[in-house]
C-alpha cells in the first residue's frame, strides 16, 4: 500500500508555519487597516407602521422574568401595531450568549431593544451599537455601566429597598443582634451590587449584626441549597439569612426546613416566586422585597413605543418601579395580590 502523500518533515513544517506567521504580521503592519467593525445605520427613529421590539431578560426560566414578559406583552397589546419578541439565554451568567442574542436581534432589524443587562460593563457596548443603528434602547431591571444618556432604566431602586429590608431584619433581631449570612447571586451585575450596597450600608450602622458568611448562589437554586447547608453547618448559632434573589431565598428556605431550623433562623430576601410566598405563609421566610417586574416590562415597552412614535424629540426618563415589603400580614391584601399575580386585566400599576 503506497501512500503517495508526502509527509511534511519538521523543518518544512516550521518553515511553513514561520512564513505563515510572517505573512500575517506583514499584513498587519502594512496597515491593511484592521479596525473594530462599525455597523452602518442610523437615521431618525420616528416610526409609523408596525413596531417590533425585542424584549430580552437576563435569562428565561425564572418567575420574575415571566412577570416581565406578561407586562411587556400587556403593554404591546394596548397599542396598535406593536409586536414583542421575547427571547433570552438560559443562564443569567451567560454574558457572551446574551451579547450574541442582542446582536442577532439588532441585525434582524427590530426597532427597539428592551433588555436587562447580565453584565453592566459588557453590555454597554451593545447598547451603543444599537443606538448607532438607530434603535431605541430601554434597560429594565439592570442597566449598563456607563449608562448611555438616551437609554433610560426602568427598575427598582435596589439600594433603597435593600436598606429597608435590612432595617427590618435589624429591628426584628433587636439590640442583641446576631450572626447573619448573605447569599448574593452574581457579583458584577447591577442588581446584585446595588442590593449588596443597601444591605451593607445598614450593617455599618448596626454593629450588633455580625456578618459571618457570604456565599453566592450563582442564581441557581441547587447551588443556593448547597451553600446554605454548608453555612448552617459552619455557623450553628446563625440568626438570620439575607438572600438577594429568588434562587437564593428558595435554597435557603429549603435548607432550614431540612435542618429543622425553619422559623428559628430568620430569612429575608428578594422576589416573589410562588414557592417563596408559600414560605412566607409558612413562617419560613419573614419578609420579601417584592419588585414590580410586570411594571418593568409594561413601562419599558411603553417608553420605547413613546420614543418610536414620537421621534427624536421625545426624551426618555428613568422610572423607579417601586418595591413593597411582603410579610405574612399583608400577603392577602388585594394590591399585594395584584402585584403577585399580575395580569393584563389586573395590572399592578
Amino acid at each position: 500500500m503506497s501512500s503517495v502523500r508526502r509527509r511534511v518533515s519538521r523543518k518544512e513544517f516550521l518553515r511553513l508555519g514561520g512564513s505563515g506567521l510572517a505573512g500575517a504580521a506583514l499584513l498587519g503592519t502594512v496597515g491593511c487597516k484592521a479596525k473594530v467593525r462599525e455597523s452602518g445605520g442610523g437615521g431618525s427613529t420616528k416610526k409609523e407602521g408596525l413596531i417590533r421590539l425585542a424584549v430580552v431578560p437576563k435569562a428565561v426560566g425564572f418567575a420574575f422574568w415571566e412577570q416581565v414578559r406578561i407586562g411587556a406583552q400587556c403593554a404591546a397589546s394596548k397599542h396598535k401595531a406593536v409586536e414583542v419578541q421575547w427571547d433570552g439565554v438560559t443562564s443569567e451568567t451567560d454574558v457572551n450568549g446574551q451579547v450574541n442574542l442582542l446582536q442577532n436581534f439588532i441585525t434582524q432589524g427590530v426597532d427597539g431593544l428592551v433588555y436587562a443587562a447580565t453584565d453592566a460593563k459588557v453590555l454597554h457596548q451593545v447598547s451603543d451599537q444599537a443606538l448607532e443603528q438607530g434603535l431605541v434602547v430601554v434597560n429594565i431591571d439592570s442597566g449598563t455601566n456607563p449608562q448611555p444618556k438616551q437609554v433610560p432604566v426602568v427598575a427598582t431602586n435596589n439600594v433603597a429597598a435593600a436598606a429597608r429590608i435590612t432595617r427590618r431584619m435589624a429591628e426584628k433581631l433587636g439590640k442583641g443582634g446576631g450572626e447573619i449570612a448573605f447569599i448574593p447571586f452574581q457579583p458584577g451585575t447591577e442588581t446584585n451590587d446595588t442590593r449588596t450596597e443597601g444591605f451593607k450600608d445598614v450593617l455599618k450602622k448596626n454593629p450588633q449584626l455580625d456578618l459571618v458568611a457570604t456565599q453566592s448562589s450563582e442564581s441557581d437554586y441547587n447551588t443556593a441549597l448547597r451553600v446554605t447547608n454548608d453555612i448552617l453547618t459552619a455557623h450553628p448559632k446563625l440568626s438570620a439569612i439575607y438572600a438577594a434573589n429568588e434562587p437564593g431565598v428558595l435554597g435557603a428556605a429549603e435548607a432550614v426546613r431540612r435542618t429543622g431550623d425553619a422559623g428559628k433562623i430568620l430569612i429575608y430576601g428578594w422576589d416573589t416566586a410562588p414557592d417563596e410566598i408559600k414560605a412566607v405563609k409558612e413562617d419560613v421566610v419573614v419578609s420579601l422585597v417584592a419588585q414590580n417586574p410586570f411594571r418593568m416590562g409594561y413601562d419599558g415597552v411603553n417608553e420605547a413605543v413613546k420614543r418610536l412614535r414620537g421621534g427624536d424629540s421625545v426624551k426618555l426618563k428613568s422610572i423607579d418601579t417601586g418595591a413593597t415589603l411582603i410579610t405574612k400580614d399583608n400577603v392577602g391584601d388585594p394590591d399585594v395580590q395584584s402585584l403577585l399575580h399580575p395580569s393584563c386585566d389586573n395590572p399592578p400599576i
Binding site: V36, S39, V99, T107, D119, G188
Partner: protein
C-alpha cells in the same frame, strides 16, 4: 501477506470514502439550511448577519478543531470550556494588572491553555487515566482556578486594541474568521501531512497496533491534549475579546458544542476518523441553526432540541457506517 495488504488498502479506501461521504452529508445539510434561511428570512444574507454568524462561531470552531484531534485518538476533552474561561481571564489579567502588551498577553492565555492540556495529556498517557475522567477533573479544576482569584467577577480594563481579535475587520473580512481560517489550515496540514496527524489516526484506530509498530504513544498522545488545551485557550481569548473582558463564567457547556461540531462533521468517538473540514461544517451548521432560530423567532428551547436531534442523526449515521464497514469485511 499480499492479500492482507490488499484487504487493508481496500478498507482504508472504503474508510476514506465513507469519511468523505459523511462530510458530504454534513456539507449537504449545511447547504440546505443555508438556502432555507436565505429564503425564509430577509435579513439572513445581510452583511451584518453573516458577520455575526462568523464572529459568533469563531471561538467554537477553533476549540472544535482541537477537540477533533483528541477525538481522532479515541479520546475526549471535557475541559475545553473551563480552560477557555481560565485562559481568557488570565490573558486579560496579564494585559491589565500585569501591564503586558496585548499580543504577548494573548499568547500567555494560549500558553495557560496548553499547560492545562499538558496536565490532561500526562494524566491520560502516563498515568493511564481514562480521558473522560482526566478531562472531567480538569473541567472542575480549571473552573475553580479561575474563580479563586477573581471571585467569579469579570475582569475589565483591557486596552482597546484587544477588541480587534474578536471584533475587528480587515477590509470587510472579520478578523475572527481569518483566525479560524488560519487555525483550520494549520490543523488540516497537521492532520493530513505530519507525523503527529498520522499517529493520531493510528492511535485512534488501534492503540495496540500503533504501540506495537513503534509509535511513541505517550509523547504523541500528550501532544494532542496540549494542542486541544492551547486551542481552547485561544478560543477563550477570542471570546474575551468579543466582550472586552475576562469572564470567569464563560464556556459552560462549550465542550458539548465542540464535540457536537466534530461529530456532525464525521469524527467518530471510537477514534480514527475526523477531519478539520468536517468539524468546520459541523460548527457552522450549529451556528446557522442558532442564528436562524433568532431570525425566525423560534424559541431558544426548540433550538436545543433541534441541535440534539442533529447530533443523534450524525452519530447514528456514523454507527451505521461502521457497521457496514465491518460487515463487508
Amino acid at each position: 501477506m499480499t492479500a492482507t495488504t490488499e484487504e487493508q488498502s481496500r478498507s482504508t479506501i472504503r474508510e476514506r470514502l465513507s469519511g468523505v461521504v459523511s462530510q458530504l452529508a454534513a456539507a449537504g445539510a449545511l447547504i440546505v439550511v443555508f438556502v432555507f434561511l436565505s429564503v425564509a428570512s430577509p435579513v439572513f444574507l445581510s452583511a451584518d448577519n453573516l458577520f455575526n454568524i462568523g464572529v459568533q462561531t469563531s471561538y467554537t470552531a477553533v476549540i472544535a478543531i482541537g477537540m477533533t484531534l483528541v477525538i481522532i485518538t479515541a479520546g475526549i476533552d471535557l475541559s475545553v470550556g473551563s480552560v477557555a474561561a481560565l485562559s481568557g481571564v488570565v490573558g486579560v489579567v496579564l494585559m491589565t494588572k500585569a501591564g503586558i502588551p496585548v499580543v504577548p498577553a494573548i499568547l500567555g492565555g494560549v500558553f495557560v491553555g496548553g499547560i492545562c492540556g499538558l496536565v490532561n495529556g500526562l494524566l491520560v498517557s502516563v498515568a493511564g487515566l481514562n480521558p473522560f475522567i482526566a478531562t472531567l477533573g480538569m473541567l472542575s479544576v480549571a473552573r475553580g482556578l479561575v474563580y479563586i482569584p477573581t471571585n467569579a467577577r469579570a475582569v475589565f480594563g483591557a486596552p482597546d486594541s484587544f477588541r480587534l481579535l474578536g471584533q475587528g475587520v480587515i477590509g470587510s473580512i472579520p478578523i475572527p474568521i481569518i483566525v479560524v481560517a488560519v487555525v483550520a489550515t494549520i490543523g488540516y496540514v497537521v492532520l493530513s501531512r505530519t507525523k503527529l496527524g498520522r499517529y493520531a489516526y493510528a492511535m485512534g484506530s488501534n492503540r495496540e497496533a500503533a504501540r506495537l509498530s513503534g509509535i511513541p504513544i505517550k509523547r504523541y498522545l500528550t501532544a494532542v491534549y496540549v494542542i486541544s488545551g492551547a486551542l481552547a485557550g485561544f478560543g477563550g481569548m477570542i471570546a474575551s475579546s468579543q466582550v472586552d473582558s475576562g469572564q470567569p463564567n464563560f464556556g459552560m457547556g462549550l465542550e458539548l458544542d465542540a464535540i457536537a461540531a466534530a461529530v456532525i462533521g464525521g469524527a467518530s468517538l471510537f477514534g480514527g476518523q475526523g477531519t478539520v473540514v468536517g468539524t468546520l461544517i459541523g460548527a457552522f451548521l450549529i451556528a446557522l441553526i442558532r442564528n436562524g432560530s433568532v431570525l425566525l423567532d423560534v424559541n431558544i428551547y426548540y433550538q436545543q432540541v433541534i441541535i440534539g436531534v442533529v447530533i443523534w442523526v450524525a452519530v447514528l449515521w456514523d454507527q451505521y457506517r461502521r457497521r457496514r464497514l465491518t460487515a463487508a469485511d
